[in-house]
Amino acid sequence: MNVSNIRKDFPILDSRINNYPLVYLDNAATSQKPRAVIDSLVDYYENYNSNVHRGVHTLSVKATEEYENSRIKVKNLINAKSSTEIIYTRNATESLNIISYSWGKKNVHSGDDIFITPFEHHSNIVPWQELCRDKKANLRYVPLNGSGDIDMDKFRSQLSQRTKLVSITHMSNVLGTLLPVKEMIKSVRATPAVTVIDACQSVPHMPVDVQDLDCDFMCFSGHKMLGPTGIGVMYGRSDILNEMPPFLFGGDMISEVTYESAQWNDLPYKFEAGTPNIADAIALGVACDYLQDIGLQKIWDHEIQLGEYAVKKFKSLKNFKILGDRSKEKRGGVFSFHHEKIHPHDIGSALDKFGIAIRTGHHCAMPLVQSYGIVAASRASVYLYNSNEEIDKLIDRLSEIEEYFSGE
C-alpha cells in the first residue's frame, strides 16, 4: 500500500496545525475524508439535489437512483444478502437504539438476560441499561478470564433460554482489542437470543462479512469509515426486520395513511421515516468504493503493522504504559496509554502544540477506563493514511513532554 499516494487523496492531511504538519491520530473518533467523498457531496448539491422516492422529475429520479445505489455498495461491503437489509440511520448510536426500541421492546421480557461485554462504548451500554430497567430484565456482562480476555467456557455456562440479546463490540475503541465475535455468536445460537455486533471499529478497517459471522444485526457509523457525518447503518437479517415494528413514524415509512390509521411500507423504508440524509448516504457509497478499491485486507495489514511498530516504540518510553496490550493477532490500530504523573489533557494539549491530534478522556467508555483505576487516558488510533514516521513523531514528542511537565 502506497501511503504517500493515499495521503494525496485527503485534502486535510496537507494542513498545518500550530505551524506543524497535521499528524492525525484520532481516527477512532472520526476519520478524515478523501476528495472523492467531498466531491460527491458537491456533485449532489450542484447537479441533482432533490427529494427522493416517488418524484417523477429528472432530479428526483437521479437522486433516488444514486441513493439506492449507495445502499447496494454498503450491502456489498459487508456481504449482506440483500440491500433491503441495509437501514440508513444517523450513526451507530441510533442504529443500536433502533434495535433496543423496536426489537427489544417487543421481545425482551421480565427476567430475561441481555449480555454485553466489559469493553463496550457507552452507545452499546446505555440503550441496554434502559431497556433492562424498563422491562425488568437483567443486563449481564460477559465474564473475562485472568488475562482480561473473554472467558468462553464461563460465558457458555451463563447462556440460557432466557438469554434474549447479546451485543458485542467487534473491536474495542479504547484498547484496540479484537473480540472473538464469531465464536461467541456460535455459542449464542443455542439460545433464542439475537446477536448484535457493534462494528464501529471493524467495518472501517478490515474485511467484515455478516453472513460469515452469522450475526443478526450489525451497527456502524459512516463518519469513521471515510464517509460524512450524519449517516450510519443498521444491518439486520430481513426475516427479523420484517417482524419488527417500525421505530420512527411519518413520511416515507408508510404505504397508506388515513385519518385513523396507517400501513407500514416494505423494507428498508419501514425504518426510514422522513426525508433521508440523501447526500451523505450517497457519499457513504463513495467511501465504500474507495475502501474496496484499495482493499480492506490491505488496509488492515497496514494498520496491524503500524500498531506493532507503535507498541514496540512505546516500550522505549519507560513511564508511559499501554492499556490492555495484546499480541498482534488480538489487536487493531488503536492504543491507549497512561502516564503515572502527567494528565491526559496535558498530554493532549502538548501534542497539539506540535500538530499531533490524539484523543484524551474517557473515550465514551467510562466503565472500561475506570477498570484500569484511572478516569482518563490518552488514545492514538491509526488509519490507512498514517505512517511509521507519524508514530515516530508521537513517541519523540511524548518524551519531550515528559521532561517539560516534570521540569527536568
Binding site: 500550530n18 505551524n19 502527567i342 494528565h343 491526559p344 489533557h345 496535558d346 494539549s349 502538548a350 497539539d352 502544540k353 484524551t360 478522556g361 474517557h362 467510562m366 484511572i374 478516569v375 482518563a376 519531550e400 517539560y404 511537565f405 516534570s406 521540569g407
Partner: protein, 146 residues
C-alpha cells in the same frame, strides 16, 4: 519546546511552577469547612479546606489530582484568596470567571487577581476552561454556604 504559542500562554512558567510546586497543600488542623469537587469527564479532583474567622479566610488547604491546569489553578487561587474577606473573594471569583469566559474585565479588576492572572492563557482553550475553574467553583460553593 520553542516558539511562543497559545500553548505557551496557557502553560506559562508561573502556571507550571504552581503545578510542580503546589502551595498551601497541608491539611488544616483547626476548624474548617471542607468540600471535594470532581469533573467526571476528565477525572480532575480538588479538595478544599477553608478556615474562616470573622468574615475573613484565615487559612486554606488545596489538594487534589488532575491536569496541570486544574492543579496549578488551585494553588494559584490559594495564594490570592488567603487572608482576604469573603466579600473580596466573591468578587475575585467573578473576575476570574469573566476573564476565562472572555468577557470584558476592567484593568483595575485584573490587578486584584495577582499571579492568578496567569490563568488567562486558558481562555483560548475552551475545553480546558472547566479545568481552570474547578477549584474556583468549589470555593464559591463553600463560601456561598457560609
Amino acid at each position: 519546546m520553542s516558539e511562543l504559542t497559545d500553548f505557551d500562554e496557557m502553560y506559562q512558567e508561573i502556571v507550571l511552577d504552581h503545578y510542580r510546586n503546589p502551595r498551601n497543600k497541608s491539611k488544616l488542623s483547626r476548624d474548617f469547612l471542607e468540600t471535594k469537587s470532581y469533573n467526571p469527564f476528565c477525572g480532575d479532583e480538588i479538595e478544599l479546606q477553608l478556615s474562616i474567622n470573622d468574615g475573613k479566610l484565615e487559612d486554606i488547604s488545596v489538594t487534589g489530582r488532575g491536569c496541570a491546569i486544574s492543579q496549578s489553578s488551585g494553588s494559584l487561587m490559594s495564594e490570592v484568596v488567603i487572608n482576604k474577606s469573603i466579600n473580596e473573594i466573591k468578587e475575585i471569583s467573578l473576575i476570574i470567571r469573566s476573564l476565562l469566559k472572555n468577557e470584558e474585565v476592567q484593568e483595575k479588576d485584573l490587578d486584584r487577581l495577582g499571579d492568578a492572572f496567569a490563568l488567562e492563557g486558558v481562555k483560548k482553550f475552551p475545553v480546558r476552561i472547566k479545568c481552570a475553574l474547578l477549584s474556583w467553583a468549589a470555593l464559591k460553593d463553600l463560601i456561598d454556604q457560609y
